[in-house]
């Protein structure tokens, strides 16, 4: 069974699309330990984002096995922030949705905001931030401080 402590393990994972027919990821195996800083480097269109989507569970692999922790944070290229929520509410969103109690959510949110140095912008809306600040907000949400992050 997977848990928050399980490292990310990909075993001979392949991913192909039907329309257009293309084999994006061909038999990739990798393991990422807890706390490890892992960089995936390659030219454009080589399947880096696809591998991240496979790790996050947004896409299902065509073949192979993906093992991932239950709680996973992710930073999306286009931020994936909700424009109608303040920075603080955006940061708190994932924790709120995972059903944590209010006190826990508040504490986690404060911690996240401090981690990305955006305490002063907590009451602003994403539209009022710079691109870099938006990425910081996007990087901070996660159900708990222990959750992993994929960028």
């Amino acid at each position: 069974m997977t848990s928050a402590d399980t490292p990310i393990v990909l075993t001979r994972v392949s991913k192909s699309y039907v329309k257009p027919p293309v084999l994006v990821v061909h038999s990739v195996s990798l393991a990422i330990a807890r706390g490890e800083f892992f960089c995936l480097i390659g030219p454009s269109g080589c399947g880096k984002s696809t591998i991240i989507k496979l790790i996050a569970g947004i896409e299902a692999p065509t073949s192979g096995v993906v093992r991932r922790p239950d709680r996973l944070g992710m930073v999306f290229q286009s931020y994936a922030l909700l424009p109608w929520l303040t920075v603080r509410a955006n940061v708190a969103f994932a924790a709120r949705m995972s059903g944590l109690d209010r006190g826990h959510v508040e504490a986690t949110t404060d911690l996240h905001l401090r981690m990305v140095h955006l305490e002063a912008f907590a009451a602003r809306y994403p539209r009022e931030l710079s691109g870099g600040q938006r990425h910081s907000v996007s990087a901070s949400p996660g159900p708990s401080p222990s959750s992993r992050r994929c960028c």
Binding site: F76, P83, W84
Partner: protein, 233 residues
């Protein structure tokens, strides 16, 4: 509010098939040919009567759908409106007509608005396990808010046009007459215009313009301003 005794409508409605029969046997045409030669009526007026009769007969047979069940598929608006009228729910009949005409102004923008939710936001919902009604309540519905506001504004604008027709019940109720019209700005405009009451007409028009302007300032402008916050960049 109904101006004059509603029961008349029901009896008129029940007698409807008979009325259609008489109009189909075309007494007007016979009358025309018999009266044209002795009285020496010009041919043009005769043409107008005979040309008008089949049109009227066609309109009546399409409106009579609710009476005989064998008429098959028909405009649901006519059928349901007649249902409301037969049950003396005159206000509801008008509300129903306005509702039907307004509905699509909201539904179509909302369907288009579903396409504007970015893929990354959908993926984020997946990663953070936001599903079902929570996804609808916290992501889909707020994302659709600008489209609901825009659609409502368009629907509201159209409502002002339709209310003129909807309140004047005799324009779409079979065998209806002016006494069934509902009291409202729409019927006031139509009746004042028909009876040549220019003062009443202008007053009703001014009231309508005032109402539209005030509601625009008090409701729609703030809502449109608020909805800007809900748009994805």
């Amino acid at each position: 509010m109904v101006r004059v005794a509603p029961p008349r409508t029901v009896s008129a409605a029940r007698e409807w098939p008979k009325a259609r029969m008489t109009s189909r046997s075309a007494p007007n045409a016979r009358q025309c040919s018999s009266s044209a030669s002795p009285a020496g009526l010009p041919a043009r007026s005769c043409h107008r009567v005979s040309a008008w009769t089949p049109w009227r007969a066609r309109w009546r047979s399409s409106a009579s759908v609710w009476a005989p069940p064998s008429q098959g598929l028909a405009s649901s608006r006519t059928t349901s409106t007649a249902f409301f009228v037969a049950n003396h729910a005159f206000e509801l009949a008008a509300v129903f007509v306005i509702f039907l005409s307004m509905l699509w102004n909201i539904v179509c923008p909302v369907i288009g608005g579903l396409q504007t939710i970015p893929d990354d936001v959908k993926s984020a919902a997946l990663v953070f396990k936001v599903r079902g009604w929570r996804k609808f309540w916290y992501i889909t519905l707020p994302a659709l808010f600008p489209f609901i506001v825009t659609g409502s504004l368009l629907a509201w604008a159209q409502g002002w046009t339709i209310v003129i027709v909807a309140e004047v019940l005799h324009t779409y109720v079979p065998n209806g007459n002016a006494s069934q019209d509902l009291l409202g700005l729409g019927s006031l405009l139509v009746d004042a215009n028909a009876q040549g009451k220019n003062g009443v007409f202008l007053a009703a028009l001014a009231a309508m313009i005032l109402l539209v302007t005030l509601l625009n300032l008090a409701v729609w402008q703030p809502l449109l301003h608020l909805s800007q916050r809900f748009r994805f960049d």
